[in-house]
């Protein structure tokens, strides 16, 4: 079957309990968390092609994962803060928590 292309880099949305954000805030609220996901294959350069080859041929040892990227990254280019009320009925705002816009960068 035709291998469908991976979806391009875009914003995805998830409703998450504040407690599950893993930041230690104590609240019963559920907040929208938007993140960037998707392929950046379409805008690779000669550099990326060469790097991918050298990684595959083990000419370059990647080191800890994520430290050598052979394609632009799908990352937020704009963020949003998220506010919620904690169990002490105090408003809290977490800056730069959610992605407002995603692009392939680098």
């Amino acid at each position: 079957a035709r291998r469908r292309d991976s979806p391009n880099c875009t914003v995805r949305r998830l409703m998450v309990k504040v407690r599950d954000l893993g930041l230690g805030f104590d609240s019963d609220e559920i907040v929208p968390f938007k993140y960037c996901s998707g392929s950046c294959h379409r805008i690779r350069s000669n550099y990326d092609l060469t790097l991918a080859t050298l990684l595959q041929e083990k000419a370059i040892k990647p080191g800890p994962l994520g430290h050598v990227a052979s394609h632009p990254c799908c990352r937020p280019t704009r963020y949003e803060a998220v506010s919620f009320m904690n169990v002490h009925n105090t408003w809290q705002t977490v800056e730069k928590l959610s992605a407002a816009e995603c692009k392939c960068i680098g």
């Binding site: 893993g22 930041l23 230690g24 805030f25 790097l51 595959q56 994962l65 994520g66 050598v68």
Partner: protein
């Protein structure tokens, strides 16, 4: 609809309202309308059935009673039918400045002692004056000017050195069971400038309080402050200072504090501390003082000296001096070096706070360490707490929520307390640095600090995509 009236106190008796008889009363023979004023027994109000006029029968005194709640009753008769309506009839008494100031508990004298707190703006003592009249709080300045409080003296030094602050607020009197508003005026004797530690004098300072709008007798009251300015001495307690310092301590290690006698009580007195070292070759220790600190902080200034075997015991003379009076005091400080020198671990970050785990923390040294190694502070691990886990040069001073004078000298000493960079993760920011954090807080000096749970691994993001 309420019937509400305002009558100025002290005015002569007279009619102040006419209850109206509607035209129907005159046109229709079989209809009659009549009024009555209820709840007037014992009160200075009358209703005249013939003239339907309501009058006040004597001068009102607001300081006796400022509000009367009467009832107006209207009766309408048509043949055998009768209908009655009652509505509140309120009389508010407006105030006039007709009361002289008086002393609430008869005290016009108090003591005002100046000892350690010699700072401009210090309140030395307070005396109060009452007035049965009310005082509007808007505009406040004009009310304040109405009741003056001036230091009566011919001595320029007193006028320069003291000032009187006047505040007032509403209080309640209950002359005969009803509540009546009055005013309590407070006169605070304050220092108008810092006083030298050598100043030593006693005298009585008088303040004339004057109710400028009251035209009767005794419109003013004299307040008396018995002022005693005690001299204070700049001296060290009769002990010499002894500190031991580990030879593996690093630069900016916090050794201890130096303080003259009663130093924490002093206010408005600028004491500065200096070290004089006869033994110039072993000059390892320095002293620093924060702008608001009343003590000197000793710290390791040159850690290479600690490694020199010939430097065992270092003697200093500590000098504390007061800028204003040029007074100064001296004492002896002995620094004893101890401990065997341990090899410095390779590959260690310069700053303890960079280490995220106990093992790498306790294996490494860093700026400000006392014994050559960083210390791991294990937190409670619950939510966002001041007791977060972190790696520090000295648990005793860092993190403690204060960016002290030594920590502020170098961003690598205690970024947890001093950072003004980004703090990422669950946290609460203090005046400086991290007030509370989630899990483990670690910092890259001059960059970000992070507070996160330790169990979050680096998700796979392989590059063979």
């Amino acid at each position: 609809m309420d019937l509400s009236f305002h009558i100025k106190e002290n005015k002569p008796p007279g009619t102040f309202h006419q209850l109206q008889l509607p035209p129907i009363h005159h046109l229709c023979q079989n209809v009659s309308i009549s009024y009555k004023l209820l709840a007037v027994e014992g009160l200075p109000f009358r209703y005249n059935e013939n003239t339907t006029g309501v009058s006040v029968v004597q001068r009102l005194d607001r300081e006796e009673r400022e509000r009367y709640e009467l009832i107006a009753k209207c009766t309408v008769r048509e043949g055998s039918k009768e209908m009655q309506v009652e509505v509140p009839f309120l009389v508010n008494v407006l105030d006039e400045d007709d009361s002289a100031p008086f002393l609430p508990n008869g005290t016009s004298t108090t003591d005002a002692v100046v000892e350690f707190n010699r700072k401009e703006g210090t309140v030395l003592a307070t005396l109060t004056v009452c007035d049965a009249d009310t005082t509007p709080i808007f505009p406040i300045e004009s009310s304040r000017k109405k009741y003056t409080g001036t230091i009566s003296t011919t001595d320029p030094w007193i006028s320069e050195t003291f000032r009187v602050d006047h505040i007032f607020h509403e209080i309640y009197f209950s002359p005969n069971g009803s509540q009546v508003r009055g005013t309590l005026h407070e006169y605070k004797l304050m220092l108008n400038k810092n006083i030298s530690v050598t100043e030593n004098r006693s005298f009585q300072l008088d303040v004339l309080v004057n109710d400028t709008e009251f035209h009767g007798p005794e419109r003013s009251v004299m307040l008396h402050f018995n002022v005693s300015i005690l001299p204070v001495s700049i001296q060290f307690p009769n002990v010499t200072y002894q500190f031991t310092v580990n030879r593996n301590a690093q630069r900016f290690a916090h050794i201890g504090k130096i303080c003259i006698e009663n130093c924490m009580k002093f206010c408005g007195v600028n004491i500065t501390y200096r070290l004089l070292s006869p033994n110039a070759s072993c000059y390892a220790v320095g002293i620093l003082q924060g702008r608001e600190d009343k003590f000197g902080s000793l710290y390791v200034n040159d850690s290479s000296v600690l490694l020199r075997p010939e430097c065992k015991e270092i003697q200093y003379t500590v000098v504390a001096s007061d800028k204003q009076s040029k007074k100064h005091a001296k004492t002896q400080l002995t620094i004893t070096l101890e401990g065997t020198i341990i090899k410095k671990e390779e590959d260690c970050p310069e700053c303890c706070a960079v280490n995220k785990h106990r093992a790498e923390c306790e294996e490494c040294g860093g700026v400000g360490v006392l014994t050559g190694k960083c210390q791991w502070r294990q937190g409670s691990g619950k939510g966002i707490t001041t007791n977060y886990s972190t790696c520090t040069p000295s648990i005793r001073t860092c993190p403690d929520g204060t960016c002290d004078v030594i920590e502020s000298k170098d961003p690598s000493v205690c970024p947890q307390d001093c950072t003004n960079g980004n703090i990422i993760g669950g946290h609460e920011r203090g005046a400086h640095g991290i007030k509370s954090g989630h899990g483990i807080c670690y910092c890259f000096p001059r960059q970000n600090c992070y507070c996160e749970k330790d169990d979050i691994k680096e998700p796979p993001c392989d590059d063979m995509c």
